[in-house]
C-alpha cells in the first residue's frame, strides 16, 4: 500500500548574540573547554540570570519573518529535569506564553512550487553544556564508561521552533528547513550551522493511507546532523513504518536515533521515568511586555526576506528557479543586485551582469562582489547606459573593467571621455565615407560578390569611431552606401 507521510519538525537554533542568554560570557563556538563560564551559566549557588535584550529582539525578528503573532505579554518558565550537562538541573525556557505564536514558513521545492508549513510557536530558552562520552571507543552514549562535560555552550540563547505536522515528504521537510535556515540567516539572528550545532532538529514522523484525515502513531527522530541525514532518516523511517503497516504490525510511539553509518533509525528507549517537567514561572525573572510600538520598530528594520525576494524574482522579474536560488542563497549578492536594480530598473540585464561579467571578475580577483570597488549603484548606472543605448555592450565591458579598477561612476567616465554612442547620422556618414574611401579595394571585392568583406568594413567603421558608433546604424548605412 502507498502511504502519505505526516511530518512535523522541532528545531533548536542558537542565536548569534555576543554574550550568552543570561550572563555576560561570550557566545562563541570552539573555545577551550570550560573557559566561557561564570557563576551564572554554571548554575553556581546564589547566581542569578538576567536576560539578554538582543536575544529577545532576535525572537521578535524571527516571529515577524514568519508572520507569527508577537503576544504583548511573555514570560520565562523553568523546565525541571536532571541532566549532567544542564547546570541548574532546570532549563530556563518558555511554557505557556512564548515570545511568538503561530506563523507560517513558506518554502519552495526544486520544481519552483511554493508550499507552506505552519508554525506552532517559537520560544526562547538556554542551551545546555556538551558531554563527550568516553571509555567505550565509539563516542556514543550507550556503553560509555563515563562522560566529560564542557559548559561553554551552557546558557547560549536558543530558539526552539516547533512546526505543525504540515510536511508530507522528506523533500518537503528539507526544503522547509532550508527556508528556515536562509530566513534566519537573512534576518541576522543565527549562523544556523548544522555542523557546529547551531541548528539541531528532530522530526516527528507518522504515515497514513492517502485520503485519511486522522494521524497515525508518530515516532520522533533525533541526532540528524545534516540536511542530507534529515532526508535519509525521514525516508528510511517512512519506509520502515510502511513495511510495518503492510505486514500488519503496529507502530510504537518512541524516540529514535539516526544512525548515519548504517542508514537506519534505531530505538533509543531509555529506562527513565515518564517526563514530568514541573514547569512553573521562573521566580528569578520578571515578565516581558512587548508593546505594539516596539514590534513596529523591529519590523521597520527588517531586511528583505528570502521569500519576498523569491516572489519578486520569479513573478515580477520572471527569473527561473535556478537563477533565483543562486541569488537568494548568496544574500550579499542578492542585496547588491536589488540595489543595482533600483538604479537600472532592468532586472534581467542587471542579473546578467551580476551573475555574468561581475561574478567572473570577482572570481578572477578573489574579491567578493559586494566588497569590490564596483558599487551596486554604479553597476545599475552601467546597465541603464546600455539599456538606453548610450553605450554599446563592448564599451560596457570596458567600462566594467575600469569600474572594477576603481574608476567609479560609469556615467562620469562616459561624459568625461565622450564615449557616448554616436547615432548622429552626419557623424556616422562621415565615418562610413572615410572608411569607404580608404578601402576602395575591399569595396570593389564586396561589389564583386565577396559578401564576407562586409564584416570587415563594419569593423573598420567601428574602429574609426573608437567604438562609439551604434553598430546597427553602421550596418544600415553601409548597406545603403554599397547599394544593397
Amino acid at each position: 500500500m502507498r502511504y502519505e507521510a505526516v511530518i512535523g519538525i522541532e528545531c533548536h537554533v542558537e542565536l548569534k548574540t555576543a554574550s550568552k542568554m543570561f550572563c555576560g560570557c561570550a557566545n562563541r563556538f570552539g573555545a577551550e573547554p570550560n573557559t566561557l563560564v561564570c557563576p551564572v551559566c554554571l548554575g553556581m549557588p546564589g547566581a542569578l540570570p538576567v536576560p539578554n535584550a538582543a536575544a529577545i529582539e532576535y525572537m521578535i525578528r524571527a516571529g515577524l519573518a514568519f508572520n507569527a503573532a508577537i503576544p504583548s505579554f511573555s514570560k520565562f518558565d523553568r523546565k525541571n529535569y536532571f541532566y549532567p550537562d544542564m547546570p541548574k538541573n532546570y532549563q530556563i525556557s518558555q511554557y505557556d506564553m512564548p515570545l511568538t505564536q503561530g506563523g507560517v514558513v513558506r518554502y519552495w521545492l526544486e520544481d519552483g512550487t511554493l508550499h507552506e508549513c505552519r508554525l506552532t510557536r517559537i520560544h526562547l530558552e538556554e542551551d545546555t553544556g556538551k558531554s563527550t562520552h568516553a571509555g567505550s571507543g565509539d563516542g556514543r552514549i550507550a556503553g560509555s564508561a563515563y562522560s566529560l562535560v564542557d559548559f561553554n555552550r551552557a546558557g547560549v540563547p536558543l530558539m526552539e521552533c516547533v512546526s505543525e505536522p504540515d510536511l508530507r515528504s522528506a523533500e518537503e521537510a528539507v526544503a522547509f528547513l532550508e527556508m528556515l535556515r536562509r530566513t534566519l540567516m537573512a534576518i541576522g539572528v543565527s549562523d544556523v550551522k548544522m555542523e557546529e550545532g547551531s541548528l539541531r532538529c528532530d522530526a516527528n514522523v507518522s504515515i497514513r493511507p492517502f485520503g485519511s484525515e486522522s494521524y497515525g502513531t508518530k515516532t520522533e527522530i533525533k541526532n540528524m546532523n545534516s540536511f542530507r541525514s534529515v532526508r535519509r532518516a525521514i525516508e528510511s523511517e517512512i519506509a520502515r513504518q510502511s513495511a510495518m503497516l503492510d505486514a500488519g504490525e503496529r507502530i510504537v510511539q518512541e524516540t529514535l536515533g539516526w544512525d548515519e553509518a548504517n542508514g537506519t533509525t534505531i530505538s533509543m528507549r531509555s529506562k527513565e521515568l515518564a517526563h514530568d517537567y514541573r514547569y512553573f514561572p521562573d521566580p528569578d525573572l520578571v515578565p516581558m511586555e512587548i508593546s505594539a510600538e516596539r514590534v513596529s520598530a523591529v519590523r521597520a528594520k527588517m531586511p528583505p526576506l528570502p521569500i519576498e525576494r523569491f516572489e519578486r524574482y520569479t513573478k515580477a522579474y520572471g527569473f527561473n528557479i535556478k537563477q533565483t536560488a543562486q541569488l537568494i542563497d548568496a544574500p550579499e549578492i542578492a542585496e547588491f543586485f536589488d540595489r543595482s536594480v533600483e538604479v537600472s530598473k532592468q532586472p534581467q540585464q542587471t542579473q546578467n551582469f551580476v551573475l555574468g561579467d561581475l561574478s567572473r571578475l570577482a572570481n578572477e580577483s578573489g574579491i567578493a562582489i559586494h566588497q569590490s570597488p564596483v558599487s551596486p549603484e554604479h553597476l545599475g548606472e552601467l546597465v541603464a547606459l546600455v539599456e538606453a543605448k548610450t553605450i554599446n555592450s563592448k564599451i560596457a565591458k570596458e567600462l566594467l573593467a575600469r569600474m572594477w579598477a576603481g574608476e567609479g561612476s560609469p556615467k562620469a567616465i562616459v561624459e568625461r571621455e565622450g564615449l557616448a554612442q554616436t547615432s548622429d547620422p552626419a557623424a556616422l556618414a562621415r565615418f562610413v565615407d572615410e572608411v569607404l574611401a580608404a578601402n576602395a579595394a575591399s569595396v570593389a571585392e564586396y561589389r564583386a560578390g565577396k559578401s564576407n568583406v562586409f564584416g570587415f568594413l563594419v569593423g573598420a567603421v567601428m574602429k574609426s569611431s573608437r567604438g562609439k558608433a551604434d553598430p546597427a546604424a553602421v550596418n544600415a548605412l553601409l548597406r545603403e552606401r554599397l547599394g544593397g
Binding site: 549557588p45 546564589g46 538576567v50
Partner: protein, 494 residues
C-alpha cells in the same frame, strides 16, 4: 579605644575620626569571638586573617582621607551569602567545603561601606528552619540562655550580634528568618521590601520570597546597613529599579500623626498571659508616643502558612536541584549519573531539606500543579490584597514577631509545630512587605530561669522602609527594652 560594645554607628564614627583604628576594632572583636564562641557557636568559620588584612587596608584608606559609613564595623555574614574565597556552606554537608568564587552584591555593598566580615554565621540548612537546629554543621546557642535556640534560620547571625561578636549581621528572611531570631535574641531584625536588596550571591531557598536584611542592636544600625545595601543591581532581575532614599538621617523620636493598625485576626490573647501583657504594653507605648491605634483586618491571614508551605518548597525543589554532585560540592559516587545524583542528595541534605524538596516536587508535579501550586499563588494574591486594603486605614501594622520567646533545644519535634513559629511573619513575606522586629519586652518562659526577650513586628506598605525605620526608632528610644536584661555572655558593656 576599641570596644566591641559600641553600636555600628558609634564604631564608624570613631574609626572615621581616627579615635580608634579598624585594626584595633577587629583585634578586639577577634578576642571577643575567641572568648565566647565556645559557648555561643555563632560562626561556621571565622575570617581572622582576612578581617585583620581588610582592617589594615581600610585604615590606610582612612589615613589617606577617605571616609566610610560603616568604617571598621565587624560584620557577621550568614553562610548562605557568597564571599569570594571563603567557604560558603549554607549550613549543609552538601557545601561543607565549597569555596565561593564570587561575592554577593549585598556583601560587596557592605564591604564598600567599610564593614569588615569577621565570620560566616551558622544557619538552618539552606535557610529552612526556625531554630538553627537544622544546621548540619554546628550548634548555635541563644546568648540570653544557652539552653535555648537562637531562632532561625539566621540563628548564627542573631547570636553573633547578641553576643557582641559582630556589630551587624547579614541574614536572609524567606518567611521570618531574620525577624524571628532577632526577636529571640533581643535584636532589631529588618526584612526590607522584596527586591530592595539584590539577591545576587544569596544561595536561593525560595526565590520569590528571599530577602537579605540586617540584624543589629539598634534601629539606627539597621538603617545604616539598609542604606548601604538597598538599590537596583543589574545582576538581579528581581531587584527593584527605583530610587532609594537614605533612612539613617530621618529616624524619629515620636509617632504623632501615625496610624498603627492592629490585626483583628492576630488575636494575641491566646499566647499566654505574660506574653499578652507584653504586647498590650507595646501598643500602649506606641499610643503614648502619639500614634493612633486602629483595628484592621487580614481575613486571609490564617491561610498564610498553607500558602507559604506550598510556594516555598516548590521553588526550593527547583532551586536545590543544582546540588547534584557534578560541578561543585559533595559527590557520592554511583554506577551512573542518576545513582550518583540520588546518593549525593541523600547524603548531602538533611531531613528538613529533603522534606521540603519532596513536598515541592510533589506540588509541582503533573496532575497536582493546579491543585497545589497555582492555588497557593492565587491565595498569595488574596494575602497581598488584604494588606493593601488594611494599609488604606493605617500607616504601619503592629503584630507579634513570634508566638513565644526562644524555646529549648529539641522541643519542637514535629515539623508542623516548628512551621507554626512563622505564623506572624509569613503573611508579610508573601506580600513582599518591609517588616522588622524590634525588642518589646521580656517574659520568663514556663520552666525557664531567666527572662527572655520578645519582639514587636512592625510592617509597612511596599517600599515604605523610611517611615517603618523611623517609627521603630522612636519606639526603641522611648522604651529601651533591649537594655533591660542580659546574661554573662551578653553583658560586656552595660
Amino acid at each position: 579605644m576599641a570596644t566591641i560594645a559600641k553600636s555600628a554607628a558609634e564604631i564608624a564614627r570613631a574609626v572615621n575620626a581616627r579615635e580608634c583604628s579598624a585594626r584595633e576594632m577587629i583585634d578586639a572583636t577577634m578576642d571577643r569571638i575567641a572568648a565566647v564562641e565556645p559557648q555561643v557557636g555563632a560562626f561556621l568559620s571565622v575570617l581572622e586573617r582576612q578581617a585583620r588584612e581588610s582592617a589594615d587596608a581600610l585604615d590606610a584608606r582612612i589615613a589617606a582621607g577617605e571616609r566610610f559609613p560603616l568604617a571598621g564595623v565587624p560584620l557577621a555574614v550568614k553562610d548562605n551569602l557568597a564571599l569570594d574565597g571563603t567557604v560558603t556552606t549554607c549550613g549543609s554537608k552538601m557545601l561543607e567545603r565549597w569555596v565561593a568564587p564570587y561575592t554577593a552584591t549585598a556583601v560587596r555593598s557592605m564591604l564598600a561601606a567599610g564593614a569588615i566580615p569577621v565570620g560566616k554565621a551558622n544557619m538552618d540548612e539552606f535557610a529552612m528552619g526556625s531554630s538553627c537546629e537544622n544546621s548540619a554543621l554546628g550548634v548555635t546557642r541563644n546568648p540570653y540562655d544557652l539552653h535555648r535556640v537562637p531562632g532561625g534560620s539566621s540563628g548564627g547571625s542573631a547570636a553573633s550580634v547578641a553576643a557582641h561578636e559582630a556589630a551587624i549581621a547579614l541574614g536572609s528572611d524567606t518567611g521570618g528568618s531574620i525577624r524571628e531570631p532577632a526577636a529571640f535574641c533581643n535584636l532589631v531584625g529588618f526584612k526590607p521590601t522584596y527586591g530592595r536588596i539584590s539577591r545576587y550571591g544569596l544561595i536561593a531557598f525560595a526565590s520569590s520570597l528571599d530577602q537579605i536584611g540586617p540584624l543589629t542592636r539598634s534601629v539606627e544600625d539597621a538603617a545604616l546597613a539598609y542604606d548601604a545595601m538597598a538599590g537596583f543591581d543589574p545582576m538581579d532581575a528581581t531587584s527593584v529599579d527605583r530610587s532609594v532614599e537614605p533612612t539613617a538621617g530621618t529616624l524619629r523620636e515620636d509617632l504623632h500623626g501615625l496610624r498603627i493598625g492592629v490585626v483583628k485576626q492576630f488575636d494575641t490573647h491566646k499566647l499566654g498571659a505574660d506574653i499578652d501583657d507584653v504586647y498590650d504594653r507595646a501598643l500602649h507605648d506606641l499610643e503614648a508616643l502619639g500614634a493612633e491605634i486602629v483595628e484592621v483586618e487580614l481575613p486571609t491571614a490564617d491561610y498564610g502558612l498553607a500558602t507559604y508551605y506550598l510556594i516555598a518548597p516548590a521553588e526550593c525543589s527547583s532551586n536545590l536541584a543544582r546540588f547534584d554532585g557534578v560541578r561543585y560540592g559533595l559527590r557520592v559516587d554511583g554506577v551512573d549519573v542518576a545513582e550518583m545524583n540520588e546518593r549525593t542528595r541523600a547524603a548531602g541534605f538533611g531531613p528538613e531539606v529533603k522534606r521540603r524538596i519532596l513536598i515541592g516536587t510533589y506540588a509541582l508535579s503533573s496532575g497536582y500543579y493546579d491543585a497545589y501550586y497555582v492555588r497557593a499563588q492565587k491565595a498569595r494574591t488574596l494575602v497581598a490584597r488584604d494588606f493593601a486594603k488594611a494599609f488604606e486605614k493605617c500607616d504601619l501594622i503592629a503584630a507579634p514577631a513570634t508566638s513565644s520567646p526562644a524555646f529549648r533545644f529539641q522541643s519542637k519535634s514535629d515539623p508542623y509545630s516548628m512551621y507554626l513559629m512563622d505564623y506572624y511573619t509569613i503573611p508579610m513575606s508573601l506580600a513582599g512587605l518591609p517588616a522588622l522586629s524590634v525588642p518589646c519586652g521580656w517574659v520568663t518562659p514556663e520552666g525557664g530561669e531567666r527572662p527572655m526577650p520578645l519582639g514587636l513586628q512592625l510592617t509597612a506598605p511596599l517600599f515604605a522602609e523610611r517611615p517603618l525605620l523611623a517609627a521603630a526608632h522612636a519606639y526603641e528610644r522611648a522604651t529601651m527594652h533591649a537594655a533591660k536584661h542580659g546574661t554573662e555572655v551578653v553583658e560586656v558593656a552595660r
